[in-house]
């Protein structure tokens, strides 16, 4: 990665996580993510799905568990060769490969099975577009919180893990 890559700080109630985004290898995904940051979309959203040994997912739900309106989906750039390695950040999506909007996840393990394998619905994979360059200890704290079921969702932290503010660094 280069010095020109954008950096975003997620200020959570467990501490700050700094993400360096790879605008060269995932240009559309980074532009999409930054648009949400700039619009304040991530402010006061949850890490609502936390699975130790796998990943922590957030950016879509408010603390009262309402899904926030999103922009149109972004093209899946998982063909860029970036790996779903520990402390990388990637886009969450539905089973439709090109359906990512706002929700993202931070890998807390090497999850090679999430990488691109083939250009179809089964093998498209999940697009990595950055990595954690500060606050890995915060990620480790979040992955270890107690979770349970809430509404129709599983693996939801019992105590809210909140992204209070997402801040773009120049």
């Amino acid at each position: 990665m280069t010095d020109t890559n954008p950096t975003v700080v997620l200020h959570t109630n467990h501490g700050a996580i700094t993400l360096e985004l790879d605008a060269v290898r995932a240009p559309k995904t980074v532009a999409n993510f930054l648009a949400y940051v700039r619009a304040g979309h991530f402010d006061n959203t949850l890490f609502h799905r936390v699975i130790d040994g796998f990943m922590i997912q957030g950016g879509g739900f408010t603390p009262d568990f309402r899904q926030k309106p999103t922009r149109p989906p972004v093209e899946n750039e998982a063909t860029n060769g970036l790996k779903n390695a520990r402390y990388t950040v990637a886009m969450a999506r539905t089973s439709d490969p090109h359906s990512a909007t706002a929700q993202f996840f931070i890998n807390v393990a090497d999850n090679g099975f999430l990488d691109h394998r083939s250009p179809d619905a089964k093998g498209w994979g999940y697009c990595v577009f950055g990595r954690v360059v500060g606050g890995t200890d915060v990620v480790d704290r979040i992955k270890a919180v107690a979770t349970g079921d809430r509404n129709m969702h599983q693996n939801v932290p019992k105590q809210d893990v909140v992204i209070e503010r997402a801040e773009e660094k120049a």
Partner: protein
């Protein structure tokens, strides 16, 4: 943004939206806010609502909210097409207009990325269920519909509740095979319309079937109902893929 060439066509059916299942209504709105954005078209092929007593049901906040969400999508540039199901068989032009979409005939053929595809709710294929087909023929009759729709709203609500109770009792007594599609009816429909792909809902038996019609390999996709897991069928040049819309890795 998705490029136009990639934009898929999405199909949903058998949502059975009602006040009894608020989580399905939430799921519907989540679909409208997210995955469906930018689609080339959205087809809603029956049983959007668990019961529909006439387009004046738009007075219900639930129905009005659903129509408004469709209208927002339509305004963003995605055309929306509706077919009637066996639960919402009196869904009409007024609803379609409020939702920014158009009401289709019970059976239509559309060219989807080069493959002519027959699209229908699917209840008309369950020809082994003679009681139901009799009921369907009666209520699809325009004269009976006009007469019924002229009844006061609350009377029609009562009728709908009665139908549902009778239908549930009848369904519980019927062998499951009778309530699936009839293989001959499927072949006949595909032959009549000259297609090799059929997409329908209704049976709540999501699957992709391959079948031989007059020596031609044909496909039949059955949409999933939302009772278990909300989902949609995504169709593009590469084919058809059932998709849940829980955001996840």
């Amino acid at each position: 943004m998705l490029t136009a060439a990639m934009a898929p066509t999405l199909f949903i059916s058998d949502l059975h939206l009602s006040r009894d299942r608020p989580e399905l209504v939430d799921a519907f709105h989540a679909l409208m806010r997210g995955p469906v954005y930018g689609a080339a078209a959205l087809y809603v092929i029956g049983d959007l609502f668990d019961s529909w007593v006439g387009d004046d049901q738009l007075r219900q906040p639930l129905a009005a909210g659903v129509a408004a969400a469709f209208a927002t999508l339509a305004a963003s540039g995605t055309p929306i097409y509706f077919q009637r199901g066996n639960r919402d068989f009196v869904l009409g032009q007024r609803f379609a207009a409020a939702a920014g979409g158009s009401l289709l005939a019970d059976e239509v053929v559309r060219d989807l990325y080069g493959t002519p595809t027959l699209i229908m709710h699917g209840d008309q294929l369950c020809t082994d269920d003679i009681d139901y087909q009799r009921f369907r023929a009666f209520w699809r009759d325009p004269v009976h519909q006009r007469r019924t729709l002229a009844l006061p709203y609350f009377v029609r609500q009562g009728l709908a509740m009665l139908f549902r109770a009778v239908s549930q009792r009848a369904t519980a007594d019927k062998p499951p095979l009778i309530m699936d599609v009839n293989a001959e009816a499927v072949a006949a429909a595909m032959r009549t319309h000259g297609v090799r792909r059929l997409i329908h809902g209704h049976t709540h038996r999501p699957a992709r079937h391959e079948l031989d019609v007059d020596g031609l390999l044909c496909e039949r996709y059955v949409l999933a109902d939302w009772y278990r897991v909300p989902s949609y069928l995504r169709v593009d040049a590469a084919g058809a893929t059932p998709c849940g819309f829980e955001f996840a890795p």
